[in-house]
Symmetry: C2
Amino acid sequence: MKSAVQTKDTREAILDATDMLLARYGYKKMTIDDLAQEVGIGKGSVYLHFPSKEEIALSQIDRIIERLKSKLRTISNGSAAPDKRLREMLIERVMFRFDSVNHYSQSLNEMLSYLRPKLLQRRKRYFDEEARIFSEVIADGQKTKAFVAGDPFDLAQTLVTATNALLPYSLSAFELGDRKDVAERTKKTADLLINGLKK
Amino acid sequence: MKSAVQTKDTREAILDATDMLLARYGYKKMTIDDLAQEVGIGKGSVYLHFPSKEEIALSQIDRIIERLKSKLRTISNGSAAPDKRLREMLIERVMFRFDSVNHYSQSLNEMLSYLRPKLLQRRKRYFDEEARIFSEVIADGQKTKAFVAGDPFDLAQTLVTATNALLPYSLSAFELGDRKDVAERTKKTADLLINGLKK
DNA sequence: CCAATGACCCAAATGGTCTTATGGTCATAA
DNA sequence: TTATGACCATAAGACCATTTGGGTCATTGG
């Protein structure tokens, strides 16, 4: 990875290195110099791809969510019954995040202390975008009268809110508890919520 | 309030003063001297009631939760139908906290940074205790076949988890959003959850 | 000519030193 | 016996010099 990048897009390489260095050093301690060296480029070249250190870290978080959304869309577009799809999506939204930041250990809260306002904004955006994907499945379920009536997006936002406490955010993955336990709590919450949609 | 305390229990007076000073100065800036003066006692007398500064702040948080639990019990023991009681309790658990710490503005997260491990522990305990009160109402609803079968405490914990993201914790009341908005989101979440219990 | 580079700039961070403040203790007085 | 505030030790803050690191840009090589 320290050799000049030839087989991989530089922007992605920077984000990969960011992922690793955030986990190792946290936001504050991670330097652009370290990053450049890790990628095998000059320090100034980093700024050809990202306007600031802050934006690099935020873009890494964005990337995690983009990957999640892609997974949610795959499930959403599947052929299972809408309630089964919803359940799988709720679980995925929690567990994918958990696994994506699990190696960040204590550094998640540290990042929050530096990037709080912008992270909060993005967080709101992420939830909106996720809810949009969820709402499509809800609308599906409503067409066949399997789900209650109501604005699909509104209902989706409720699903999102109800599972938000299970996400690693200010609580690190470590603080959230054992992975198995988080998964279990997520399933139970999802089941109750979907059951509520069915009436 | 600066006069010697005669008509009010000293411990309560200390906690009242803590509530006010936490809101004004935050945890770090609040001094035991300020506290003692606010109550009208000597600085050393504070330590007759609390072992440490840390414990004073934690006890104030405990007190908020005790008041909440009292309110939850009142609702729980009411004569309304179980689903109506549950709904009211879920809303109360969110809004009572919101209102109790709303005047803390930015200082909630500051407190968290100093008291994190102990706050997390207590937080777990609070949730357990709340879930116990909820489980009684769930058991009530199960007796009349109005609610689904299952361990009442387990189901109650799910209700608690599903509304946890709405509580002010690392997100201040300010960051959680407009009070009206929080209440609205809480109601929608409660409705969906209770609907899920009814099947 | 254009993109990559690393030297440069400057504000922020850090480390060292001294001073002050504060949590907690305890001798004293009521 | 209990309340008090002076005392103590350590932590925190202020100050200053030095170093560091985010961001910029003049230079070079392809």
